[in-house]
Subunit: 596 residues, 2 copies
């Protein structure tokens, strides 16, 4: 099975708007902030004060990649020029041998390929991905340069083996090489990807200060790993590469390990929002079922990495569960990573916010970890903003897949695709409703994934409506033109957490279709704690990008004492919920997902 690549898919509707904002607000805004903070000028390899950072090239790479996906559909002469200039700078600075890393060339030329923990190959990977995307976009100059760089890495790490480390402390090169192989067909890149995967964990390599090998997944050979551990983004980029190389090389053992890691991550360490990596210490996975809400780390990049991992596993085994998880991460954690106007970003994504705690810590000098409660334009470590842009830019890769004469419809985005024998077009209300108007023309088998949140669905075709229990898939043979409306009938549904989950056992969350909902203080007159939800129903109102749900609720009141022998009274009230992805767009605000 293979993806119907984004180059053959056009996207409109909700996700079209997200992409438009990514192109017209995020892309220029990130360019401006990155310029101001010296990320682009660092490519010139001149010393600055303060010095540049080891991962600047990766952020530039992600920005370039995002620009490549978006500028075709949303042209911007100014930004196109910036892309060209950026490529110019990289080409000008690249060493004759093919090596390019602006930090090492400027500050540590004698330490090239000596320091495992300093993101060198991680940066290379992102630049390789950018080069491929730019090549598709029509800026073809970076690709041969990055191929030369990949060849140089191949020579040093695989042929001569004279680099001072074997695997990079931050995975990324592996999946970039698999992609480069897929794009160029050059076997050596697959060989090198496989080499990096297989060497990991076979020996004790240099570690981050104070960290154990688990931190960068080098505690065991990857084929033997079964528990999602350590730095979540590192882990999920690695697993993504395992799934990719496993599929491409037909390596069942690698796929088996990747599937087991998916099972562990998704069954014991995933937030309801698709968030990954609960621990703020080192941005790591915490233990099984350890999913604190207020102090969730749940980095935006790790949810993106989970989505990439889901995508690759789906292409390998076609299991719809991968796309269910993709959808969960996409509509919730990933989308929440960005303000609705596209200009500011969350690095971490808590599932509960208590403004009093954050302000108390600020004023009273309490240095325990506290989440930020408003999105920011840029971070010192600014991986998430350009990662979102390149992810939204590439959304077209994740909607359709094909195998022989079958078209798999994986996500319900308003979009259009043409394959050799078919044209498929859908207009989707998601996430604001469940209706998907579909028009197929041509010949072939169509397989539609029915999302796991859908329990009843309705098909309206030529005036006739038919309602049925949802099956996992809707399958039909197209022959000529068929037009119908599928309604996935999203409704308010309670979700219950496993009783082992640290804070959520005995509580309930509310979902609507793929959306996890949350209450914000601004809509609920302050205190969110002590709200109980007795009934799985409520009314819905749309206002612009907002959906407001009003549900009957009970407010538990104990009468003011800190501890009391008297059972609390329950007062009837209502609670207003919004989609989690829209939280914190109206100022610093309490927020809650899990209710009594």
């Amino acid at each position: 099975m293979k993806s119907v690549g984004h180059e053959r898919v056009s996207i409109g509707g909700f996700w079209g708007e997200v992409r438009r904002v990514s192109a017209q607000a995020s892309l220029p805004n990130i360019y401006r902030r990155f310029s101001e903070t010296g990320l682009f000028s660092a490519l010139l390899c001149r010393k600055t004060d303060p010095p540049s950072h080891i991962f600047y090239d990766s952020d530039v790479g992600k920005w370039l990649e995002g620009a490549a996906y978006l500028l075709g559909e949303f042209p911007n002469a100014e930004l196109s020029k910036r892309v060209s200039e950026t490529v110019d700078a990289i080409l000008a600075s690249q060493l004759p041998c093919g090596y390019f890393n602006s930090f090492y060339q400027t500050y540590k030329p004698d330490k090239i390929f000596c320091e495992r923990t300093e993101h060198e190959l991680y940066c290379a990977g992102h630049l390789i991905e950018a080069a491929i995307a730019l090549s598709e976009y029509g800026e073809g100059r970076l690709l041969p340069a990055m191929e030369r760089y990949a060849d140089y890495i191949y020579d040093r790490f695989f042929v001569k083996r004279d680099a001072k480390f074997v695997t990079c402390g931050h995975p990324e090169i592996e999946l970039a090489l698999a992609r480069l192989y897929a794009y160029t067909g050059k076997e050596k890149y697959l060989t090198l990807a496989k080499f990096f995967l297989d060497e990991r964990g076979k020996r004790r390599e240099e570690l981050y200060e104070g960290r154990v090998p688990i931190y960068d997944q080098s505690h065991l050979p990857v084929r033997e790993q079964r528990e999602a551990v350590g730095h979540a983004v590192r882990a999920l980029y690695l697993y993504t590469a395992m799934a990719d190389v496993g599929r491409i090389a037909g390596d069942r053992e690698l796929l088996l390990a990747a599937s087991a890691l998916f099972r562990n991550a998704v069954s014991t360490k995933m937030y309801i929002t698709g968030g990954m990596g609960a621990s703020y210490d080192g941005e790591c996975f915490a233990g099984e079922y350890e999913l604190p809400n207020e102090y969730a780390y749940s980095e935006t990049c790790s949810a993106i990495a989970l989505a990439l991992f889901c995508d690759r596993l789906y292409l390998a085994d076609g299991a719809d569960e991968r796309d269910d998880v993709f959808e969960r991460a996409l509509y919730n954690n990933i989308l929440a990573g960005r303000s609705w106007d596209g200009k500011s970003f969350f690095y971490t994504n808590p599932l509960e916010a208590d403004v009093r705690h954050v302000r108390y810590a600020r004023e009273y000098g309490d240095r325990r970890y506290q989440p930020i409660l408003t999105r920011r334009e840029v971070f010192d470590c600014s991986c998430c903003p350009p990662n979102l842009v390149r992810f939204f830019g590439r959304l077209g890769d994740f909607i359709y897949a094909e195998e022989d004469d079958t078209l798999f419809v994986r996500q319900y985005f308003t979009s259009e695709v043409r394959t050799e024998r078919l044209s498929f077009k859908m207009e989707s209300e998601l996430p604001y409703g469940g209706k998907v108007h579909i028009r197929v023309e041509g010949k072939g088998k169509i397989v539609l994934r029915i999302p796991s949140w859908c329990d009843v669905m309705e098909i309206e075709e030529r005036g006739a409506k038919k309602r049925s229990q949802a099956a996992p898939r809707l399958v039909f043979e197209a022959d000529g033109v068929r037009e119908f409306t599928l309604d996935l009938l999203p409704r308010l549904r309670f979700v219950y957490a496993n009783e082992r989950v640290t804070e959520d056992g005995g509580r309930k969350a509310v979902c609507y279709g793929p959306l996890v909902l949350c209450a914000e203080g601004v809509d609920n007159g302050g205190l969110l704690r002590g709200l109980a939800l007795p009934e799985e129903r409520g009314s819905m109102e749309r206002q612009g990008e907002y959906l407001f749900f009003t549900l009957p609720a009970e407010r538990i009141r104990t009468g003011g004492e800190l501890y009391s022998f008297h059972p609390p009274v329950r007062e009837r009230t209502t609670v207003k919920l919004i989609p989690y992805f829209l939280w914190a767009n109206r100022g610093e605000n309490d927020m809650q997902i899990w209710f009594l």
Copy 2:
């Protein structure tokens, strides 16, 4: 009102046993560990490698104080000799001017009274308290020496004012001076105590690195403080001194501030166990209603400090609520600070333990704060063990108070007291039952506090039983001999937390009399999360020091999925609870107080 001092009270029964173990196990064991770690030899003021620590003198002082209270009742020739030797060492090292601090004299003689944050006056305070206790015990040599030290402090800080700071970063000297005044009658010590109280917060003084003035309660003049903030032990020692000086000096403004701070602490920042200081960062109070269970700091010393604060406020205003809080802290957080055998100690006192989290963090290199789950013999900062010993040693101070011809019975400890006109004797089943057999002889008014957990009580006198709703107090005039049994009828009662409390809103704890109960993994076959308690009843069985309570319970099960649309099923089961003070006496173990 004044306390009937411990010297006039004898204690038996449950607390007699706690005191015996303190004398026969804790006292020698702490001596041994302190000797091994160089606390006693540091008094000789010779440089060592590693060097001694700024707070060693305070730990020695607390050990001496505890020994002074206990060795009279539990004689131990060996330990008496150690006490004499320790006093010898202090006397030998004391400077001619009266100054004594083993750390400063050895390592920083040129910095005496220059560094506000280095515990100099804190150490002095503990040595003054030890000197008073030793004087009562019959070792009278330290008191004049410490008076000379106090005189020197008075001279430097109050008369000449040439010390390089005004108030000490760690309060303690204030309450020690108030006590020294009460013991010696010398006005200058009260003047100095009041001076230190009143100067605090009037100017910006040297701060701990990275800390704000709130940390050591120097953000505002103490009379203006209304919120319990900063380092909890520092705060509560300060408030204790405010109550003490307020009472002694008849300073209503100071008492008003102390009462307001009590109200804030007890109504918004107190654990159900009487624990104080929820934040592990700096051992500080967290925000109002921010009381995490698993990551509670709740230092043993801060619960002791709360008890001292309650005692002083009670003596100032006679409000029984002070003693209710005292009782809560005593039977729960304070008593849990020590293993039942008296040999090992908790510094922090979590209200929930998940062994998996602690082990995961250990193995997987997660450096987020984790509680220790087994008591230890000693700590690097070993303030809690000797603090427990001196506190248990001095328990006799907290049982009775007198005012004119009235005897106030504050706590139901098996004990005997003789005042001028009365002898009062009680044998109490507490905490294992509620019967208190009382025998009074003589003439005078008796006021018995009825604890807040008691709702129905019974009096049996000369064969007749009378049951009644509990009144706040039981008052009678003694004239001749009266003998009766008061039964406070403790029973299993649910306690509900204020809905604002971070983790406990919608949950319930179980108490029996003054005891907070908890479930341990070892009694409940593992998983404690997901246990719901439907009914406020159960059976009780005593085995040695243990009370086992078996309650009907429901176990919530979700069927294994991490998130599910299906409401969890509830399986009937039972849960076995023990007193919280006995937790972690049977190995590393899960523990939980708050249930669904």
